[in-house]
């Protein structure tokens, strides 16, 4: 931590020597050079457009300071050589005045250093004033650049926060997607199983269909046979019918012959009767013939009757077979319909099998795609991990940057400038004002309102006891305890004599700016303490303020 108020050996020079005066300037120049180098390094490192001209100003100031001191040496040498004796008294006064001014400059109090003093050679005063102006400008530039860096740091913080939230969002998305992929895989496997079951069912249907088809083919074949048989029967029936007709004709013929024979027998009988007794033998024969004819007639009649019966039964058979044929054709029609239905069923079964195969293939494809997604997710996971690692690195960088910003700010604050951005100047102003106040407590409270970057303000006596305290944290301290009854807020410690800043003020007798520290509520602060002296130069009181770094660098830098 850079502390601008470090102690330098306080040399009281009896003769003008370059060393004491230059040692202070050199120290300032060294500080400015360090700041400039830092700025350049930061500018190069962060890529922000750090203007180079502060460095030029510092070089100019350095050259001016060296010129001044060289001229001063020459002047003193000339003065010492030429008017050594006669001008010794006024020269000593001039030297004392110059030394005082340079002491102020060395201490960083640019305001006091540039003030007019008695016995101070105007040229020296103007040189010192110019140097003070240059340093003040440098300090301003430092602060401006620092403010930009603080913004960049804020930007980095925001970016980091965004990155972190994006990272965590990404992680959440990855987890979601992974879960979704697992769900998908389960669903897909479920679908695949069902598809396989469907395929098996379809295969069974196919087999049954094949069996059914065979049965139908057999049935159709059987029906065809039946039809053929029926056709054969019909043919035979026709043949029988034709034969019957022939037989009927033959019967008719026989009947006719029988009739003829009968008539013949009658004629024979008649002749026999006419022949008298000799005709008796012929009459007997005639009678036999007649009987024969009669028997023939009877036979014909019975054969005819049989044939009629036969024909009737044949006709019956024909009708029956025709009915049978009709029924057979009807059965065949039904069988063909059934065959068509079975064929359709088989087609559906085949289509179902094809579909099941396609689903299986799609599921396998999906598995492949899922694997790809899982691999991609793993890659994303690696990226998230690396991003987290980088973010933590960034976090470190950010903290370093914050420390750097703080360091540069404190470096700039080490110079008291006549500017509302110089805390030392502001504090000295407040201190001078409040010392003369009658209502110190209220003045302190008003100050806290006026300067929102102040956490506390106090006025202590020469022993370090805090006579008055103004604190922004007071309402927090006044919260009631959980026990129910209001507990009196613990009395803040009023003994400030052990505080480092009090000790430094007492030792140095001038305004002190501490190094940053972490306060009780975790905020980074530093303290500015201003001594007030009595008419005899004794320490009367110390006015102090605690500055919240975060609020100052943002509010203060903007003003």
């Amino acid at each position: 931590m850079i502390e601008p108020n470090r102690r330098f050996p306080d040399r009281t020079a009896t003769e003008p020597r370059l060393l004491p005066a230059t040692s202070g300037a050199v120290a300032l120049l060294a500080g400015a050079a360090a700041a400039g180098v830092l700025l350049l390094a930061l500018g190069i490192g962060l890529g922000s457009g750090v203007p180079v001209w502060p460095l030029a100003v510092f070089l100019l100031v350095a050259a001016v300071a060296l010129a001044i001191l060289a001229g001063r040496k020459g002047l003193l040498a000339r003065g010492a050589g030429s008017a050594a004796g006669a001008a010794r008294e006024p020269v000593a006064a001039e030297q004392a005045a110059a030394r005082a001014a340079l002491r102020e400059l060395r201490s960083g109090d640019l305001v006091t250093a540039a003030e007019a003093r008695p016995h101070l050679v105007p040229r020296v005063r103007s040189a010192i004033a110019t140097a003070a102006e240059g340093l003040a400008s440098l300090a301003e530039q430092l602060r401006e650049v620092n403010g930009e860096m603080a913004s960049s740091a804020d930007g980095v913080v925001r970016m980091t926060a965004e990155l972190a939230s994006s990272s965590s969002e990404l992680s959440a998305s990855v987890a979601e997607i992974t879960a979704a992929m697992e769900e998908l895989a389960r669903t897909a496997s479920g679908i695949s199983e069902r598809a396989i079951a469907q395929a098996e069912l379809a295969a069974r249907v196919e087999r049954r269909g094949a069996v059914g088809e065979e049965a139908l083919v057999e049935a159709v074949g059987g029906v065809g046979e039946v039809e053929a048989r029926i056709a054969a029967i019909a043919e035979r029936t026709d043949a029988l019918g034709a034969r019957s007709k022939e037989i009927y004709r033959v019967l008719d013929l026989i009947a006719e012959i029988a009739q003829e024979t009968h008539v013949l027998s009658l004629n024979a009988a008649i002749e026999a009767a006419a022949a008298g007794p000799e005709g008796r033998r012929i009459a007997v024969v005639a009678e036999e013939v007649r009987r024969l004819a009669s028997r023939s007639r009877d036979s014909v009649a019975s054969v005819r009757a049989l044939l009629d019966e036969f024909s009737a039964s044949i006709r019956g058979t024909v009708v029956a077979t025709e009915e049978g044929a009709k029924e057979t054709r009807r059965v065949l029609g039904s069988a063909e319909q059934a065959a068509a239905a079975v064929a359709e069923l088989r087609a559906v079964g085949a289509e179902t099998s094809a579909r099941a195969r396609r689903i299986s293939a799609a599921t396998r494809e999906q598995d492949g795609a899922s694997d790809e997604v899982v691999a991609t997710l793993r890659d994303v996971g690696y990226v998230v991990e690396r991003t987290s690692a980088a973010l933590s690195g960034l976090d470190t960088t950010q903290r370093r940057l914050e420390r750097l910003v703080l360091g540069v700010e404190l470096l700039a604050q080490g110079l008291r400038r006549d500017s509302p951005t110089s805390l030392v100047h502001l504090a000295e102003g407040w201190g001078a004002r409040i010392v003369g106040e009658t209502e110190v407590q209220r003045a302190l409270d008003d100050l806290l309102v006026e300067a929102p970057y102040l956490d506390d303000a106090y006025m202590a006596d020469a022993k370090g006891y805090a006579l008055f305290l103004g604190s922004r944290r007071r309402p927090v301290d006044a919260q009631p305890a959980a026990g129910g009854g209001a507990k009196a807020s613990p009395e803040p410690d009023r003994d400030l004599s052990a505080r480092p800043w009090f000790r430094a003020v007492v030792a140095r007798g001038r305004t002190v700016l501490t190094a940053p520290y972490v306060s009780v509520n975790g905020r980074t602060c530093f303290t500015v303490a201003v001594p007030a002296f009595g008419p005899n130069g004794e320490l009367r009181s110390v006015f102090g303020v605690d500055v919240d770094v975060h609020n100052w660098t943002r509010i203060g830098a903007a003003s």
Partner: protein, 147 residues
């Protein structure tokens, strides 16, 4: 053949008769008068002849008048006969005999009939006889001529 004997049979004696059916009726013709029984001859009708005369047919190279026996005896027309016959009979005329054909439905048999039951009637129907339980009407062909 010699000249025919008398057709008349003394009562009590049995003589042969040819039974023929016409419609439902059965007639008996003495066998002595029957010349021949033949399948029904083709009859050519004579316009203007009496109803009983069915027409003229040809027999043994001579024209033969054929009488419708059914009309003759008043028998109603029966079912169409299977084997109709024409009974050619001798009918004695004043100067000899002539052949006349009788169209009948069926020629049955020759039986002996007794004249005891004959009813003396006029005309060609000389009586009735019983064959079994069937009443037959006996014809006298000699009365058929001169028509």
């Amino acid at each position: 053949m010699d000249a025919p004997k008398a057709n008349e049979t003394p009562a009590g004696e049995r003589s042969g008769h040819l039974l023929v059916r016409v419609g439902e009726q059965i007639c008996a013709v003495p066998v002595g008068a029957v010349r021949r029984v033949v399948r029904a001859l083709t009859v050519h009708p004579l316009p203007g002849a009496r109803a009983e005369l069915a027409g003229l047919a040809e027999f043994a190279g001579e024209p033969l008048p054929v009488l419708d026996l059914g009309r003759l005896i008043g028998a109603p027309i029966g079912p169409h006969p299977l084997f109709p016959v024409t009974v050619v009979v001798w009918s004695r005329t004043a100067d000899g005999r002539e052949a006349i054909g009788l169209a009948a439905d069926e020629a049955l048999e020759v039986v002996d009939l007794s004249a005891a039951s004959w009813l003396p009637t006029a005309g060609f129907l000389v009586g009735e006889a019983l064959v079994g339980d069937q009443v037959v009407r006996v014809l006298d062909p000699d009365q058929l001529g001169a028509g």
